[in-house]
């Protein structure tokens, strides 16, 4: 699990070395540390459970020290929007498409409907289709194809359509 002390250690590591960029990820939470000045010092955790407030304060403090922390999952300049998080209902492997050569079920920016298949979650050779519970636009997909995912992990962030 990532916590502030751990992030500080990563920052020390990159500062003391000749590295320009250091990227660490696990279970969909990805941190990228870069010595080039960041576009924005916003940091978000892609696991849906952590409170990002203290992490953002820490990130701002470190940004002043000349090291930036960048969120890779979305464009940094988005206006904040209330997004519905789709959490994984099971433990398994996340696949964007039905087969390795097939097109992804959904892409960022796609409009989706209730009941539409968003992805496959595979465990023990059984493929489970995850269906959307809402109608809206896919804004973020904080996991990568073939990532292992745990119960509760955020898989999609959707901007729900206003009720018609």
């Amino acid at each position: 699990m990532f916590d502030l002390d751990w992030i500080r250690k990563l920052i020390e590591l990159i500062e003391e070395s000749d590295l320009d960029t250091l990227e660490v990820s696990r279970f969909g939470t990805r941190i990228v540390l870069s010595k080039s000045p960041p576009v924005s010092a916003r940091l978000s955790f892609a696991d849906g459970g952590a409170n990002p407030a203290t992490a953002v304060d820490g990130a701002r403090a470190e940004a002043r020290a000349g090291v930036g922390v960048e969120d890779v999952s979305t464009a940094a300049d988005e206006p904040s929007e209330e997004l519905l998080e789709i959490h994984s209902p099971m433990v398994g492997t996340f696949y964007r498409a039905q087969a390795p050569d097939a097109p992804s079920y959904v892409e960022v920016g796609d409009q989706v409907k209730v009941g539409q298949t968003l992805c496959i979650l595979e465990a023990m050779k059984l493929m489970n289709e995850l269906e959307s519970e809402v109608t809206g636009v896919v804004r973020e997909i904080p996991v990568q194809n073939a990532d292992p995912v745990e119960y509760g992990q955020v898989l999609f962030r959707i901007a729900e359509d206003e009720a018609g």
Partner: protein, 443 residues
């Protein structure tokens, strides 16, 4: 040796398994429910996977999710701890079929000993003394009464699929038995989804003395001495000790031999405990066999200087038993289970946040716990928060050490059974080693 073990459990036993794995150089995977996000076993394992919401059936009892967690982390073995899926034959079998080594006996062995009335039959056939009782299940009241007349009142009606003290009713005479029989079947159906019951002679002031056994996959099996677990409240053990004040070398040899026979009769491998009732005339009777590592295993570790969990892992990995002969029991050990319960209010569970926590220490004092100051004890699981195990040169020193360690043990923010344990430890009958399984009731 395994590369990576997934611990299919939580709390103090998960931490126990992680410690054994560390010493063996094996990597660990913790699985946890959302209620256990800040639990120590999650923090100290090498990897962790959230497997569900708090309720046990959606997390720690959820076989597909646990297997999926093993799959995505590449674990090659799993340790089930105690409770949860530890004695679930279906889980052991699915692991076997999926190529995930189950650190414990085979599914078949679990099944054989899991059905209590079948276990009695197996033991009787192996020449292990059993409590006089019905040969298999009893189907109706009349049959129960017939059996009771043969065995002699009072009798106890037990659920075949029960265990751990659940699903039992007393029949003191014919009328009482008829009433109790119907209720027992209904309770068994509700609790274990199986109404079959059997009848046993009720032994009035028994001691509960169990023998630790360990078998390997090469047909070797050994016993590691006894634990006296007579101090129980509603059939849940509170204090365990070794050696038992009621055993001398001769009786230990007989009971140890019987336990080994019991295990050998089913080719038992890995850790197991054969529970006996010991009556006041030094007769012992097989009660049940637990096909898992038990909560009180540290008591045996203290008097034999063995690491039972490491041994479980080694044996599961195919190694031969470390010991072939029963070890000598050295010194005296006592374990006290500390539960998050309020002894002044019917032992009502006391979940909540622990605001201060100081564990005792010093020579011969061991604490197995997963809690710490700031930890929130969740309401979803059993109430055990810590085990205190003391070891000393003799029983009086062990009693004194245990009592004083409990005095030094500070847990604030929740109620615990620490004061109650001190009352038991300082009771003259307990000090004299003169107890039976009804001791707590009589307090």
């Amino acid at each position: 040796m395994f590369e990576k073990i997934l611990i299919a459990n939580r709390g103090e036993v998960a931490l126990r398994v992680i410690r054994a794995c560390r010493e063996l150089g094996v990597r660990t995977v913790a699985v946890y429910s959302e209620a256990d996000r800040d639990s120590l076993h999650v923090r100290f394992s090498d990897e962790d996977v959230c497997i569900g919401p708090p309720p046990a059936r959606d997390s720690y009892l959820n076989i597909p999710r646990i297997l999926a967690a093993a799959e995505i982390t590449g674990a090659d073995a799993t340790h089930p701890g105690y409770g949860f899926l530890a004695e679930n034959a279906e889980f052991a079998e699915i692991c076997e079929r999926s190529g995930l080594v189950f650190i414990g006996p085979t599914a078949d062995q679990i099944r054989k000993m899991g059905n209590k009335s079948e276990a009695r039959r197996t033991m009787a056939a192996a020449g292990v003394p059993i409590v006089p009782g019905s040969d298999g299940p009893v189907d109706d009241e009349d049959e129960a009464v017939e059996e009771a007349r043969r065995i002699g009142f009072p009798v106890i009606i037990k659920a075949s699929s029960g265990g751990g003290g659940k699903g039992m009713r007393l029949g003191e005479d014919e009328e009482g038995l008829r009433r109790a029989f119907v209720m027992a079947r209904n309770e068994a159906k509700a609790a274990f989804d199986d109404p079959t019951v059997y009848v046993e002679k009720y032994i009035s002031r028994p001691r509960h003395v169990e023998i630790q056994v360990m078998g390997d996959k090469h047909g070797n099996i050994v016993h590691l001495g006894e634990r006296d677990c007579s101090i129980q409240r509603r059939h849940q053990k509170l204090i365990e000790e070794s050696p038992s004040p009621a055993l001398d070398a001769e009786l230990r040899g007989e009971m140890g031999h019987a336990a080994v026979q019991a295990g050998a009769s089913i080719g038992y491998s890995n850790a197991g405990t054969v529970e006996f009732l010991l009556d006041e005339d030094r007769n012992f009777f097989f009660m049940e066999m637990n096909t898992r590592i038990q909560v009180e295993h540290p008591v045996t570790e203290a008097v034999t200087a063995m690491d039972l969990v490491k041994e479980q892992i080694r044996v599961a990995a195919g190694e031969e038993l470390t010991l072939r002969e029963p070890p000598a029991l050295r010194g005296h050990a006592i374990e006290c289970r500390i539960n998050a319960e309020d002894p002044e209010n019917g032992f009502r569970p006391s979940p909540g946040t622990i605001t201060a926590f100081h564990a005792p220490g010093g020579p011969g004092v061991r604490i197995d716990t997963h809690v710490y100051a700031g930890y929130h004890v969740p309401p979803y699981y059993d109430s055990l928060i810590a085990k205190l195990i003391v070891r000393a040169n003799d029983r009086p020193e062990a009693l004194s050490r245990a009592y004083h360690a409990l005095e030094e043990f500070i847990v604030e923010g929740i109620h615990t059974t620490i004061p109650f344990l001190q009352t038991v430890l300082s009771h003259p009958d307990f000090e004299a080693g003169n107890v039976d399984t009804h001791f707590i009731e009589r307090l």
